[in-house]
C-alpha cells in the first residue's frame, strides 16, 4: 500500500521489540466472537490512475460547465486561482486545530484576519473562527439569543432559507424552544409591524435573512427598532456574502449569522461551506465556536491564541455554549484570501456587477412576458419570476444550451405564493448578457 511507510522488516523488528509473535497478538483484546473473520467486501485496491479515471467517469455523469442561474443559498462566483494555490500549502491543510500556538501562528493569524474582516463587513464587533455552514450558524445564533435573554421563543421570518428553518426546527425541537413563523408582504419583505405583533414576552429573538430567500433586501434598521422595543434580540442571517459589498451592513442586529460560501468557496454540491457567528462585544461569552485572540509572548512579541475556551465543550462539557468542536478553518481561509484579493474596492465593484446583471435580467424577463415579483424593495442578485409555463419545462429547454435555470421548487416551500408558476433566479457576475437574453427568449417562447 503506497501510503504506508513501514517495510516488512520494519514491521518484524517492531513486533520483536514489542515482544509479540505476530500482529494478530496486538488485537487479542478483541474477543474472537467480536472479530471480523473475513475480508471486507469492498472493491480491490486501485492504482492512482484508476482512481482518477473512476472519478472522471463520475464527473462525466454530472453536468459540466453550465451558466449557473441558480442561487438559493449557494452562489456561483469567480474564484481567483490563488485561493487554491494558497490553501494547498500542506502546512495549512494538513494541520489541526491550533492547540499549540507556538507552531500554529499561520492558522491563528489567518483566522484573526478572517474575524477582523467579517467584523468590518457585517458591522459587528466580534466574529468567531467559523461554524459548519450558514444554516447551523443561524441556528446557533438563535440558541445563543436564548441563553442571553433566558427566553424560549423565536420568531422566524418565512423568507429565511427553508432549509435553514428546517435545521433550526431539528435543533430546537428538544430544547423547549418554540418557533413562530411570520410571513412576508407584497414587496417580499417581512413587515416590521407584523413581527412586532408576533413578539411576546417569551420571545428571545427574531430571525430574518437579508437579502432574504427571494433576494429582497430587508429593512434591518426598522426591524431592529421594533424588535428591541419589545426586549428581544435581532438575528440577521446573510446567505449571500457578496451582497455585503453593496448593502448597508446589518449594524443594528445583535447577532449576524453569515454563510461565507460566496467568498471564493466552490459550490461543491453543497459543501463544505463555512458559517460565521458575529455579534456585539457584550455577548461574546455566549458565543459558540472557536475564537482567536491577540496576545503577547514572554518577550512581548505579538502572537495569537485560541481564547475564551471556557465557553467550549472540552472544558465545560454539557454546560458548553455548543457541542461544536471544529470550525471550518480551511474554508474560512479560502474566504479570507477571497476577501483580501477583492478588498475594499473590489468587493464593491463585484457587488455592483451582480446588481447590474440582475437589474438587466429583471428588465429582460419582464419584456419577455414574465412577472418579476416583489416590487418596492431593493434586491441584490436574486429575484422571483412568475411565468406562464412550468419552470421545469423552461429549465429543460435551457439545459440544452448549457444554462441552469432558476430554482423551480419554490411552490413546495411557499404555497402562499398562490396559483401560478414560480422560480427563483440568480444572476451573479458570471452570467453573461448573452445567457440572460437567451433565458428571456426561452421564457417567452415556452408554452
Amino acid at each position: 500500500m503506497r501510503y504506508l511507510p513501514k517495510s516488512p522488516s520494519d514491521r518484524a523488528a517492531m513486533l520483536q521489540e514489542i515482544g509479540v509473535r505476530s500482529v494478530a497478538d496486538l488485537f487479542s483484546q478483541i474477543p474472537p466472537t467480536a472479530r471480523l473473520q473475513r475480508d471486507l467486501n469492498l472493491p480491490p485496491a486501485k492504482s492512482e490512475a484508476e482512481i482518477v479515471e473512476w472519478f472522471r467517469q463520475r464527473a462525466l455523469e454530472n453536468g459540466n460547465h453550465y451558466t449557473v442561474c441558480l442561487g438559493a443559498g449557494a452562489y456561483h462566483h469567480y474564484r481567483p486561482v490563488i485561493i487554491d494555490s494558497l490553501i494547498s500549502r500542506g502546512e495549512f491543510f494538513t494541520a489541526y486545530t491550533p492547540y499549540q500556538p507556538e507552531i500554529s501562528q499561520g492558522t491563528l493569524q489567518a483566522i484573526f484576519e478572517f474575524q477582523t474582516m467579517i467584523c468590518e463587513l457585517t458591522g459587528m464587533e466580534v466574529a468567531n473562527a467559523s461554524m459548519y455552514d450558514g444554516s447551523t450558524a443561524a441556528t446557533e445564533a438563535v440558541l445563543m439569543a436564548r441563553r442571553i435573554t433566558g427566553r424560549d421563543g423565536v420568531v422566524v421570518a418565512r423568507s429565511v432559507h427553508p432549509e435553514y428553518r428546517e435545521v433550526l426546527r431539528a435543533y430546537a425541537k428538544n430544547q423547549g424552544v418554540s418557533i413562530a413563523e411570520c410571513g412576508f408582504g407584497q414587496n417580499g419583505r417581512v413587515d416590521p409591524a407584523a413581527i412586532g405583533q408576533a413578539i411576546t414576552g417569551a420571545t428571545a429573538c427574531v430571525l430574518i435573512q437579508s437579502p432574504n430567500f427571494f433576494g429582497t433586501v430587508e429593512d434591518v434598521e426598522a426591524m431592529a427598532e421594533v424588535v428591541h422595543k419589545k426586549g428581544a434580540l435581532l438575528v440577521v442571517a446573510v446567505a449571500e456574502a457578496v451582497s455585503l459589498g453593496a448593502l448597508r451592513p446589518p449594524v443594528e442586529a445583535d447577532i449576524v449569522a453569515l454563510e461565507a460560501q460566496a467568498f471564493g468557496v466552490p459550490l461543491g454540491y453543497g459543501g463544505p461551506y463555512a458559517g460565521v457567528v458575529a455579534t456585539k462585544e457584550k455577548f461574546v461569552r455566549q458565543m459558540p465556536g472557536r475564537l482567536v485572540g491577540e496576545t503577547r509572548d514572554k518577550q512581548g512579541r505579538r502572537g495569537f491564541v485560541l481564547t475564551l475556551a471556557t465557553r467550549e465543550q472540552h472544558i465545560r462539557r454539557e454546560k458548553a455554549t455548543s457541542n461544536i468542536c471544529t470550525n471550518q478553518a480551511l474554508i474560512a481561509l479560502m474566504a479570507t484570501v477571497f476577501m483580501i484579493v477583492y478588498g475594499k474596492e473590489g468587493l464593491k465593484e463585484l457587488a455592483r456587477h451582480n446588481l447590474a446583471k440582475t437589474a438587466y435580467a429583471v428588465e429582460r424577463f419582464r419584456k419577455a412576458g414574465a412577472t418579476v415579483l416583489f416590487e418596492g424593495a431593493p434586491r441584490f442578485n436574486e429575484f422571483v419570476v412568475q411565468t406562464k409555463a412550468d419552470p421545469y419545462r423552461i429549465n429543460d429547454r435551457l439545459l440544452e444550451s448549457h444554462i441552469l435555470g432558476g430554482f423551480p421548487v419554490l411552490k413546495k416551500f411557499y404555497p402562499e405564493l398562490g396559483a401560478g408558476h414560480f422560480a427563483l433566479w440568480c444572476c451573479t457576475e458570471l452570467v453573461s448578457r448573452e445567457a440572460i437574453d437567451y433565458a428571456a427568449e426561452t421564457i417567452r417562447t415556452t408554452a
Binding site: 500500500m1 501510503y3 517492531m14 513486533l15 496486538l26 483484546q29 472479530r35 467486501n41 486501485k46 472522471r56 464527473a59 453536468g63 441558480l70 449557494a74 481567483p80 500549502r89 502546512e91 494538513t94 507556538e102 500554529s104 499561520g106 477582523t116 474582516m117 468590518e120 466580534v126 447551523t136 432559507h161 428538544n174 430544547q175 423547549g176 455585503l244 453593496a246 448597508r248 466552490p266 454540491y269 453543497g270 459543501g271 491577540e294 496576545t295 512579541r301 502572537g303 481564547t307 465543550q313 462539557r317 458548553a320 457541542n323 471544529t326 471550518q328 480551511l330 474554508i331 484570501v337 477583492y342 473590489g346 468587493l347 457587488a351 446588481l355 447590474a356 437589474a359 431593493p378 441552469l404
Partner: protein
C-alpha cells in the same frame, strides 16, 4: 541552549510578516473584473437607504503580497506534511494528494446543490458508493452523509435515538456517558435535550459493568461509548454492554472517533452497536485543514432508518439516483444541502486506493505503531493503565511532575525537537495525561526519532527541568500570555493600535 540531542530539526531563517491590514495602501489591488456587458447601475439609486457607503478597513494589496503573506504564514505552522503529529484521538494521518485532485474535478467541484438530478448522477453515485463502503466497514444498515463533523454526527445520532424512542411513546430522560469520553459527548446529549449521567470507568479504564447495571433503568435512552475508548483500550465487553442496554429498551451509540483501530478487524454493527458516527477527517484521511472542514456520517440499524435526515439517496426503477425528501418520520435536517460533499469525495478516494487489504494493513500498522511507542517509552513515562493498547497510548507526567514538569511542558518541548505535541491533559481520568496516537503514517525512523526525543526530554526533566518548563525555545514566538488573552480579549485588528511586529 542545548540542541545537540535534537536530530530531527534545525533552526532556519523564518520570514517576519505583519497583519494584512498593515500592508494595505489605497490604490493597490489584486483583482480584475471583466468589462461589464450589461448597462452600469447606480447602486445608491437602486438600493436607496440600503446602499453601503464604504467598506471600512478592508485591505487593499497586490497579488504578490497576498501570495507572500500566506506563504510566510504557512511556514509558521506545522502539519502532517511537516512531520509526525502525535495528537491523540485526532488521527493525524497522511492526506493523499490524489484525493485533492479528484475533489477538484470541475464537474464535481462546481456542481450546484440544486442542479437537476439528471445532472447530478455522478455526485449522487459517489455518495451512494461511499455509503455502501461505510456500511460494509461498520456492519450497519443505513447511513446519512449529512453531518459536517464528528460532534454534528453525534447530535444527529442522538436525535435518531430520541426520535425512535419517541415513536414508541417515551423519549426517556438520560444519556449515560463514561468519564473517559470526549467533551463533545455530554455537550451533544445536552443539545438533544437529555440529562447526562456519568459512568465511572473501572480499574482497567473500561466501562464498569456493575456501575452500568446499577445506573441502567427505564429513564436511560442510550449509552454513548467511544470504542476503542480514549485510553486506546478496546471495550471487549461491548456485546454484553449492548445486551444490557437493549434489555432495558435503551440503545448503544458508538463514537467512532477511534475507528482507525478497528477497520477490517471488527465491525461495530456486528457487536450490538445501534448507531454511530465516523470522522472522515480521522479514519478516512480527509485533511484536518487547520480545524475543519470535517465530515461525520452517521450509520445506524434498520430500526432507526425511518428517522434519518432528509433527503436520502435512492435508486429509482430506471437505475437513476434520486433524492427522496418524502420521509414523514425524519428528524428533519441538521444542515443545509447534503453534507460536506468535497470531504466525501476524498474519503471515497482513500477507500478505493486501499481496498480491503490496504485498509486492514492500515489498521494493523496504526496499532503496531502505538504499541511500539508504548513499549519503548514505558518506564520512562508512567503508564497509568496497563490494559493493552490499540491505536493510541496514554502516559502520564507522574514521574516528571516530581521535578515540577507537567504534561503541557513536555508537549511544548517536543516542539523544539521538531514534533507537534501529543494531546495534553486528556482523557480527564488520567491526571497529567499524555495521549499519543502515531497513526499508520509514520515510518519506523520517524517513530524512533520520537522515542529518542521523549527519552531525551525525560532526561532534561531530571537534569535541567527549567529547560522543559520554559519550552519551546526554537519557535518564532515563545509561550503566549493566554490569561490576558482571555481576560481582555482582543479578537480583531483595529486601525491605530500600532502593534509591535513579531520582529521587534
Amino acid at each position: 541552549m542545548k540542541t545537540d540531542k535534537i536530530r530531527k530539526a534545525t533552526l532556519h531563517v523564518n520570514q517576519n510578516e505583519g497583519l494584512i491590514f498593515e500592508k494595505s495602501s489605497p490604490g493597490k489591488k489584486a483583482y480584475s473584473l471583466p468589462p461589464l456587458d450589461v448597462p452600469e447601475v447606480d447602486a445608491a439609486r437602486l438600493l436607496g437607504p440600503q446602499a453601503r457607503q464604504d467598506l471600512g478597513h478592508m485591505p487593499e494589496v497586490s497579488e504578490i503580497e497576498i501570495i507572500r503573506h500566506f506563504t510566510r504564514l504557512s511556514t509558521w505552522n506545522y502539519g502532517v506534511d511537516t512531520g509526525m503529529y502525535p495528537l491523540g484521538s485526532c488521527t493525524m494521518k497522511y492526506n493523499p494528494r490524489v484525493n485533492e485532485f479528484v475533489a477538484r474535478l470541475p464537474e464535481l467541484a462546481e456542481a450546484h446543490p440544486y442542479q437537476p438530478e439528471k445532472l447530478s448522477q455522478g455526485t449522487l453515485r459517489i455518495m451512494q458508493t461511499l455509503s455502501d463502503c461505510l456500511l460494509e466497514i461498520c456492519g450497519m444498515d443505513a447511513v446519512t452523509l449529512q453531518p459536517a463533523a464528528g460532534a454534528h454526527g453525534e447530535l444527529t445520532g442522538i436525535l435518531l435515538v430520541r426520535a425512535w424512542l419517541q415513536s414508541q411513546g417515551n423519549p426517556r430522560k438520560k444519556i449515560l456517558i463514561p468519564d473517559s469520553a470526549h467533551g463533545t459527548n455530554p455537550a451533544t446529549a445536552a443539545i438533544a435535550g437529555y440529562e447526562i449521567e456519568h459512568l465511572k470507568s473501572n480499574a482497567l479504564g473500561m466501562v464498569d459493568l456493575d456501575a452500568l447495571r446499577a445506573q441502567l433503568n427505564e429513564d436511560v435512552a442510550a449509552l454513548m461509548l467511544t470504542n476503542p475508548n480514549t485510553l486506546g483500550v478496546f471495550e471487549g465487553e461491548i456485546n454484553r454492554i449492548a445486551g444490557m442496554l437493549h434489555e432495558k429498551g435503551a440503545l448503544l451509540y458508538m463514537d467512532g472517533a477511534n475507528m482507525n483501530a478497528l477497520v477490517g478487524k471488527t465491525r461495530p454493527g456486528d457487536n450490538g452497536v445501534d448507531v454511530m458516527h465516523l470522522n472522515l477527517h480521522k479514519t478516512f484521511s480527509t485533511p484536518h485543514g487547520g480545524g475543519g472542514p470535517g465530515a461525520g456520517p452517521v450509520l445506524c440499524k434498520k430500526i432507526l432508518e425511518p428517522f434519518l435526515p432528509t433527503p436520502v439517496i435512492e435508486i429509482a426503477g430506471d437505475g437513476k439516483f434520486r433524492l427522496n425528501y418524502d420521509r414523514p418520520q425524519s428528524i428533519g435536517r441538521v444542515r443545509a444541502f447534503y453534507g460536506n460533499f468535497g470531504m466525501l469525495v476524498r474519503a471515497l478516494a482513500y477507500i478505493l486506493a486501499n481496498g480491503p487489504d490496504g485498509l486492514r494493513q492500515t489498521t494493523e500498522d496504526a496499532v503496531l505503531g502505538a504499541n511500539y511507542l508504548r513499549k519503548r517509552l514505558e518506564g520512562v513515562y508512567d503508564l497509568p493503565y496497563k490494559t493493552p493498547s490499540m491505536h493510541e497510548v496514554v502516559f502520564s507526567d507522574r514521574l516528571q511532575a516530581a521535578k515540577g514538569v507537567k504534561t503541557g511542558d513536555i508537549g511544548k518541548r517536543l516542539i523544539d525537537y521538531g514534533f507537534y505535541a501529543y494531546t495534553v491533559s486528556f482523557p480527564l481520568i488520567v491526571h497529567g495525561a499524555m495521549m499519543i496516537e502515531p497513526t499508520e503514517s509514520e515510518s519506523k525512523e520517524e517513530l524512533d526519532l520520537f522515542v529518542e526525543a521523549l527519552r531525551s526530554i525525560a532526561e532534561e526533566c531530571e537534569q535541567t527541568p527549567e529547560l522543559v518548563t520554559n519550552a519551546p525555545h526554537h519557535t518564532r514566538i515563545s509561550r503566549l500570555d493566554e490569561v490576558t488573552a482571555a481576560r481582555k480579549p482582543v479578537l480583531r485588528w483595529k486601525p491605530g493600535e500600532q502593534a509591535r511586529s513579531a520582529a521587534e
